[in-house]
Structure formats: structure tokens, C-alpha cells
Amino acid sequence: MTTKILEVNDLRVHFRLGGFWGKRAVIRAVDGISFFVNEGETLGVAGETGSGKSTIAKVLVGLYKPTSGTVKLMGEVINFRDGNSVAKLRENVGIVFQDPTSSLNPRLKVREIIREALVAAGVERSLHEERIRHIVPLVGLRPSVLDAYPRQLSGGEKQRVSLARALVVPKKLLILDEPTSSLDVSVQAQVLNTLKELKKELKLSYLFISHDLNVLKYMSTRILVLFYGKMVEIGSARKIVTEPKHPYTQELVSNLLDSPQPLSERLVMEHQPSFTGCVYSRICPFVMEECRTTHPPFYKVSDDQFVACHLFKKFPKAFDF
């Protein structure tokens, strides 16, 4: 029986805008998301700008408080109003951001950047050097970079420093928020290879966020597809890529560059969410009357594929995926 490292249930993150003189508005950045991450697996999160991918990541390291919903880490519910509880979350969950330049302090040497994570975790000072020496070769860096400043490093090296900082204190789950999208293709390939090795070596689980379906497919055990804050489909990477069920997932997959469809026949349309009924109903080519009024529940299409779409009504409703 596999253990669930992380369980997220009906997570909602809403942001209030305006007020005072302006019009009040609520942005539902993340609206009713549930998923879990098994030990040793990579859950890929697919979605475009504004889909709430990064918001989820920020909740999971305690940077945002959820409006409602629960986050369970190794079976324990995290209370976001309790500092100790959030500290526990941060102790076990690491994060690597997209832009390696802005996430590293330009005035510190690499050694100090990595050391900060040890200080924050309260690791005894005498152990620091040993821990740093241990992690640096694991993420594929030469020990000589420890005395360099971030500006002296290439993009790939900077991203590896971010990785070292996230992992110098052992973690259970690593959140990778678009970790390779600012890197060159050959460097991206090197970093992806390192990530796969690290996962085995350190027995990690990943939450891998990317808009690049080619990368997600290569990295993930399962993929979760988001559209404007709502989950539309979740399932094994193979099923999602080869037999996408939700019309939105189908559209994403048809954009894969090695897909056989020629450029001119690809499904492309303007993306605007619908605020009533199914979030995709405004642009869905298969829209039906009920799509406009009720948001579809999740249907279990097969053991490893679940979709929120009225087209799949004949399948049993699912609550646990």
C-alpha cells in the first residue's frame, strides 16, 4: 500500500480586489481542488497562465493561506493559522521557483545562500559545511561554485543552486514551479535528468508544475489539468496524453509539438472561463445545456483517469482520486 505524502481536499484560495471606492471583486484563483501525492511519485500540474498552478504551490509552502479546504501532510492536517503547523509544512516541503536569478540573493555567495536554509531549519552550525559538501555534487554542481556569486553562474547552475538550497535539509516533497522554462534546451535536458536521479537517490516525491506538456509527460507519474482555478481532469500521464477525455485536455494535447496534426488544423480558440456551470463551457466545442448551469462532478472513466465533464455521465461518480 502506497502512502500519501500529501493530501489536498477541496482547496480554495480567493483573493479580494478593490473595495473602498472601487468595485469589489473576488478572484477565485484556486477553486475546489483535491488531489494527493503518493510517496515516490511525480504529480504533474498542467495549466496555462492564470490557471492557479503557482497559487497551489505557494499554499503548499505556507506563503498563502487557503480560504477553505484542508491540506494534509503525511496524514496530519495543517493549520495555516498556527505557526508551528506551517513550520512543519516548510520543514518537509521544498520549492524551486521558475526564475533562478530573482530567487537567489545577489549579494551572498552560493555557500551562504545554501547555508541560509540550514540556519532556518535550526541545524547545528558545526554540521553546516558537511551538509553543504554532501548536497552540492548530488545536484550536479562543482564544489568550486560555492565561493561564486550568483551572477557568475549560468542559468542552469543557478537553478541547481536553488535545488541544493531546497534539498540541503532533507525534504519529503519538492515543489518544482516551472523549474526549467528559463533554461536552454540542452541545459533543460541536463536538469531534468538530474531531477530524476535525485528523486531516486533522496526518495523524494515531486509536484511538478509546468505549462510544457512534453516536459510534464516525460517527468510525471500522474498529471492534473487545471483550467482557471478548477480541476478538469486527473489521471496517469499515459492516459492523459494518449487518451485525453476533457475537451480542454484534448486541446492541450493537440498542441504538443510532436503531435501528427499539421499546424493549421490545430484546435485553437480564445480562452475565457465561464463563471456559471462548467468553467470551460464558454469555449467548449461539445457544450450542452446542462454545462452552462451546473458544474460537472468528477467521473471515473477508468481506474487511473478521472474527468469533470458532463459528456462522461455514464461513468460512476468519483470522490477519491
Partner: protein, 343 residues
């Protein structure tokens, strides 16, 4: 294929060439010495063609794009040798005034950092309409604000911007990165230039906006015969839209050829590496085949072939002498594996 003559009696091939870059060498000069960013780069773009320039950081592709438009800052850049011939005129010999006549109306660029293309203190709408006004002036036609506005709105809509009216009323900083990029692209194509240079047009854009954009560019190419140079690090993307591709590394062209051929049957080991570095399999797929090391440091280039420290097919000669760009089949390649002189 050197100077292009406007004389129509010349060969058909020559009269079709819109732009040719001949033996261009560019150095960046700084206090700690000079760095050769482009080394004897030659390329030719025919009228109506879509040409891709593919390479990683430090390959000199952006410098090449800027040089074509005459936008290189000199200093620090110094053009050592070469010429850039556009419609028979050597752009490097023109005055700034003459260049200004050509830029915008005849050739235009979409910069990688779209923020730089927009003025932060004017609303987007004002800036887009300004571009429109400029063409009317250039073409000496009457400027009709309502018509211009409608055309701008239509163009924005085609670029997947859902509320174009609202966007016109915004300042650049109020837009997201992807949105700004699209506005910058709109601004560049409003003027229907003969040659459009796009520097990393799709980075930071969502997949569906990317494919929409590629479609639009393709349309632009087919409908209005806009010739394009697409500068990108993404080889599969380039092969999707381009007719022909140049692969660059360390300021040199390593391979040239038909786009589909380059992707399917790459010749140079570096091009092969670029193709195999793109992840295609599932989670259980074997590790990606990538050459070790990072893109080259132009200050410390190796002797011989510049790719040799990372090359899986390295031979003795590769460390000693740099290969020439030679004809192989219908393409060009700079590698000792394909050079007959290698004995």
C-alpha cells in the same frame, strides 16, 4: 551570392534574395578585452521565405538579429568585417536617417524583452495607433483614426487578446508578460514590413497562444508575403513554421538546411544533440541524451571546432583545426565528419 542588384536582368535567384548577410564579424569590446560574438556569418533570405536561426545562449543569434536591423549599440559592439545587404543596399553604409526610413516600414523586429518595445508612460492604444499613423505618413495616405482603431482591435483579437478595447486603455505595466509580447508583435506587424525579425517570439507564452501566434505568423507570411527571420532556441518550434533553418553555436553557423530535414536527419552532432534533448517519452523513458557541459563561454573558446569539448564524435583533427562550412547534400554543415579534406 554576394551583392544583390536591383537590375532585373540578373539571375532569378539573385533577384529573389531580399536580405543577405555576408561574412559578418562582430566583436564586443569591453575593458577586459574583446569577445567575438559573430564570426564570419553569412546567410541569405529569399523574398517570402521563413528562415529560422536556432541556437542556445551565447550563440550570437540575438546579436545577428539586432545587427540586421542596425540596432547594435556601437560601442560596445564593433562590426569588424562584412556587409548586410537589404534590397540591394548595404545597410552598414547608410546614415541613421536613411536607416530610419527602412526600419519600421520595410523591416521590423520583435525584441525578446517585449517590455523594451513599449513606452511605459503611454497607453497601449496610443502606441499602437501611433504606429498606424506612421505608416499613413510613410505611404502618404490620409490617416483615418476610426478605421485605424478598428484594424488594431481586429489584430489584437486575432492574437488571442480577449478584451481588446480594455487593453488599448492600459499602460504596459498593467499587462502580463504574454499580453505585452502580443502587443509588441501587433505593433511590429501593423506596418506590414517586408522583413520581420522575431527574437524568441514564443517564450513565456502559453502553448495555445504559441500555436495561435505561429498560425498568425504563417498567415501573415502567406497572405501578405512577409519574409520572416525567427530567432529561437526551440528547434521543434522552428521546424514547425520555418522553411529553412540555420543552426548557430558560439557565433558560427554550424548547419543550414531545409527545416524538415534538419529535424529528421540532423547532420552536425550539435544539431543532433538539440533534437535529442527535447523530452518525448513518458516517465519510464531512459535519460535524455545530452552532451555534457554548458553553452560555450565566448571568452574561452577551445581551439579547433568550437563544439569539440562537448562532442560525442570528437576526432583528433577537431581539436586542431576549425572545419569550414561545406556543402553536404542540399545543406551546409561545419564538421570534420562531412569534410572531404579530412584525411
Amino acid at each position: 551570392m554576394s551583392l544583390v542588384s536591383q537590375n532585373s536582368e540578373l539571375g532569378e535567384h539573385d533577384s529573389q534574395t531580399l536580405l543577405s548577410v555576408n561574412h559578418l564579424t562582430v566583436d564586443y569590446v569591453s575593458l577586459d578585452g574583446h569577445v567575438r560574438v559573430l564570426n564570419d556569418v553569412s546567410l541569405a533570405v529569399k523574398s517570402g521565405e521563413v528562415v529560422g536561426i536556432v541556437g542556445e545562449s551565447g550563440s550570437g543569434k540575438t546579436t545577428l538579429g539586432l545587427a540586421i536591423l542596425g540596432l547594435l549599440d556601437t560601442p560596445p559592439a564593433t562590426i569588424r568585417t562584412g556587409e548586410i545587404v537589404f534590397e540591394g543596399k548595404n545597410l552598414l553604409k547608410l546614415s541613421q536617417n536613411e536607416l530610419a526610413q527602412i526600419r519600421g516600414a520595410q523591416m521590423s523586429i520583435v525584441l525578446q524583452e517585449s517590455v523594451e518595445a513599449l513606452n511605459p508612460v503611454y497607453k497601449v492604444g496610443f502606441q499602437l495607433l501611433e504606429a498606424f499613423e506612421a505608416i499613413s505618413k510613410h505611404e502618404k495616405t490620409r490617416y483615418d483614426p476610426t478605421n485605424a482603431r478598428n484594424q488594431v482591435l481586429k489584430l489584437l483579437e486575432e492574437l488571442c487578446i480577449s478584451q481588446p478595447e480594455a487593453v488599448l486603455e492600459k499602460y504596459p505595466h498593467e499587462l502580463s508578460g504574454g499580453m505585452r509580447k502580443r502587443v509588441a508583435i501587433a505593433m511590429a506587424i501593423i506596418q506590414r514590413p517586408k522583413l520581420l525579425v522575431l527574437d524568441e517570439p514564443t517564450t513565456g507564452l502559453d502553448a495555445y497562444v504559441q500555436s495561435r501566434l505561429l498560425k498568425l505568423l504563417k498567415q501573415l507570411n502567406q497572405k501578405y508575403k512577409v519574409t520572416m527571420i525567427i530567432i529561437t532556441h526551440d528547434l521543434p518550434l522552428a521546424t514547425n513554421i520555418c522553411d529553412r533553418i540555420y543552426v548557430m553555436y558560439a557565433g558560427r553557423i554550424l548547419e543550414e538546411g531545409d527545416a524538415k530535414r534538419v529535424l529528421k536527419l540532423p547532420l552536425h552532432p550539435y544539431t543532433k544533440a538539440l533534437v535529442s534533448a527535447v523530452p518525448t517519452g513518458f516517465e519510464d523513458a531512459p535519460p535524455l541524451q545530452v552532451p555534457p557541459g554548458e553553452p560555450p563561454d565566448l571568452k574561452r573558446l577551445p581551439n579547433g571546432c568550437k563544439f569539440n569539448p562537448r562532442c560525442p564524435n570528437k576526432m583528433k583533427i577537431c581539436e586542431e583545426k576549425e572545419p569550414q562550412l561545406v556543402q553536404h547534400g542540399r545543406g551546409l554543415v561545419r564538421c570534420w565528419l562531412y569534410d572531404d579534406k579530412n584525411t
